[in-house]
């Protein structure tokens, strides 16, 4: 059993949650999301974000709109849809539960 696999599994779910969470605060274009995720050290290579965005969009959790940019190519701003918001809410509950569970288990003296 490889630790990388387990780590990847853990990260995968959290990454989805984080992306939705970032987008719930304000609509972003991919570079902005990447910046946030990098800052939080959640992704190593930028490419990781794109399949994820595609999946979330395919699931109708995300929508986007185009905006011209003065310097460089146009930007594609992503935002949460209604169902994306609901989805995020559910994830949040689960995350809180998990978080609590982990903390409780780790700190509990047996």
């Amino acid at each position: 059993m490889k630790v990388e696999n387990t780590q990847a599994q853990m990260r995968k779910g959290i990454l989805e949650y984080c992306v939705l969470s970032i987008l719930s605060k304000k609509e972003c274009y991919p570079s902005e999301i990447i910046e946030q995720l990098k800052e939080a050290e959640l992704i190593v290579v930028e490419g990781t974000l794109y399949p994820l965005l595609t999946r979330l969009k395919n699931a109708d959790l995300l929508d986007y709109r185009w905006e011209e940019s003065s310097a460089g190519p146009p930007r594609k701003y992503y935002e949460l849809t209604k169902s994306g918001l609901t989805f995020l809410g559910q994830l949040k509950t689960t995350w809180n539960t998990l978080n609590k569970a982990v903390n409780q288990l780790e700190n509990k003296a047996l």
Binding site: K2, E4, N5, Q9, V44, E46, T54, K57, P73
Partner: protein, 513 residues
């Protein structure tokens, strides 16, 4: 100084160096391939291109207007390799490692190598793909061609199905090299070298520089290839000579049990096929084309030379196919000529109150004294106008009558009952009777124009009860059947034998002293 090209990335124009462009193109097509199963891959790639454009934008300024391979590699580092994109890929370890380890092979594509190829470049292309010497593949083709000719068909299919490596990038891809600047340069160098030296083919020198380690083995293979080439070259030439002689000279090479059939192949074809001229040309073509290919293949191995004209080879191939198809058609047509069978029967009574009947078997006006010398199953002799095919089958039976008699059954096939009947009437089988002696021709014949259509003759000799029959000569091997009272043994026929008819069949009385 480097050549640049322009690309449109997310609606922006970028000047990019050629080699950088090749790397970027490969990168994007790799992403597409890895995610090809995912829905909306085009849109995803468009998003990625957008990001790449942004990253390029960051690296360009007033003093830097062109994207170099450095820039592309930097961007690729930031974006990561397609395998790193999706954590799903890391879940299945095997897949991940397979992708990583086979990265080199994955970029290899199957193309036809017309530069190095002899014909359509199929062998050479396959050799690149499999990483072996093309000689091995060519030898395999020839083995396949010789073992039933399937090689030719497979080759043609491969020729059609596999695309030709036209561009330098494709040629490099065919060899499993990525189209980076160094490789393109090396390739161009070798092409230049070829132009200089004249006889050394470019790709060979590229290959030599690529796998020096297999040099000794390659030399051995090449030497073997030459020997092999020499053998098939000579075999092809001899084959052509003999085939031509078979068809157009009275060259008798068909031995059947040491007896020469005195006819050339043309005559034998004439005896079977309805449309003789067409059939002989088709059989000739069917036979000669593979032999010409042998010569061409042999000379390719021997002189390491391409055939002069591909059109010539293609024409031959087409001719060969037409001939085979035509031959199949003619064979079906000929087969239909066997559809109906007609039997004619004629009985002859021998008048006179004889106690015994003597049977003499003749062949070429000579009495057969020892039938051991003949092969009775497949004996075909062709005369000027007549064909003799096999021996009449003779049966000796007890007659219910008081007179000796015999019946001749002539049998032939034909396309219709009418033509079968006509053919059976054309069969020549003349029995001479002088007193109580029957002179029977051992073989039956028919005119050449009736063609071989399963003609057969059965002779039945009936012996009245209490009377005797004398079979002259050693007929042990002759297709002779005697309806005996007790067990029959061919030993009874080893010398002139006397038989007597009884109620229950013929009885062996002894040999004539």
């Amino acid at each position: 100084m480097k050549k640049t090209t322009t690309i449109n990335l997310a609606g922006m124009v970028y000047h990019i160096e050629e080699d950088a462009y090749q790397i970027l193109k490969q990168y994007i097509s790799d992403i597409k391939r890895v995610f090809s199963s995912q829905e909306g891959v085009e849109e995803m790639v468009a998003d990625i291109e957008l990001r790449i454009a942004e990253l390029f934008q960051e690296r360009l300024n007033k003093n830097k207007e062109v994207i170099t391979s450095n820039d592309v590699e930097h961007v690729m580092l930031i974006m990561g390799s397609p395998n790193q994109f999706d954590e799903d890929f890391e879940e299945s370890e095997e897949k991940y490692y397979y992708q990583a380890s086979s990265k080199q092979e994955r970029t290899k594509r199957l193309y036809r190598d017309t530069d190095e190829g002899m014909l359509g470049g199929v062998s050479s292309g396959l050799a690149h793909y499999l990483g072996i010497d093309p000689v091995i593949i060519r030898v395999l083709w020839i083995v396949l061609v010789l073992a039933g000719g399937s090689g030719i068909l497979i080759y043609i299919i491969a020729w059609i199905a596999i695309p030709e490596a036209k561009t330098t990038a494709q040629k490099l891809q065919m060899r499993g090299q990525s189209a980076n600047l160094d490789n393109i340069k090396a390739f161009a160098e070798s092409v230049k070298e070829e132009a200089k030296t004249g006889f050394n083919r470019a790709s060979q020198s590229v290959k030599r520089s690529m796998n020096k380690s297999s040099g000794a083995f390659a030399n051995l293979v090449r030497a073997l290839g030459r020997v092999f080439g020499f053998v098939i070259f000579i075999a092809g030439i001899l084959g052509v000579i003999f085939t031509v002689l078979f068809f157009w000279a009275d060259f008798n090479l068909f031995y059947i049990n040491n007896e020469i059939v005195n006819a050339d192949l043309g005559t034998i074809i004439e005896l079977f096929f309805t449309n003789t001229t067409l059939a002989s040309w088709m059989i000739f073509t069917t036979a000669i084309v593979p032999l010409i290919f042998l010569i061409i293949a042999g000379s390719m191995f021997l002189f390491r030379q391409k055939p002069k004209s591909r059109t010539f080879v293609l024409t031959l191939l087409i001719l060969w196919f037409v001939a085979i198809v035509g031959l199949a058609f003619l064979s079906v047509q000929t087969g239909l000529d066997f559809k109906e069978t007609y039997k004619s029967q004629e009985e002859t009574f021998i008048s006179g109150d004889y106690q015994e009947l003597q049977i003499n078997l003749f062949e070429e006006d000579l009495m057969i004294t020892n039938a051991m010398d003949y092969d009775f199953d497949s004996y075909l002799t062709i005369y000027e106008n007549q064909v003799k095919l096999g021996y009449a089958r003779i049966e000796v039976l007890t007659a219910s009558d008081s007179l000796f008699y015999y019946s001749v059954e002539k049998r032939s096939s034909g396309g219709s009952l009418k033509s079968a009947k006509e053919r059976s009437e054309e069969i020549v089988f003349d029995i001479q009777q002088t007193g109580n002696v029957l002179d029977i021709p051992a073989r039956y014949g028919f005119p050449k124009k009736s063609k071989i259509r399963g003609q057969k003759v059965n002779l039945k000799i009936y012996v009245p009860i209490g009377k005797q029959i004398i079979l002259n000569g050693n007929l042990e091997q002759y297709p002779l059947k005697i309806q005996t009272r007790t067990r029959f043994s061919s030993d009874f026929l080893e010398r002139t034998s006397i038989w007597e008819a009884t109620q229950l069949g013929m009885e062996f009385k002894g040999f004539l002293k």
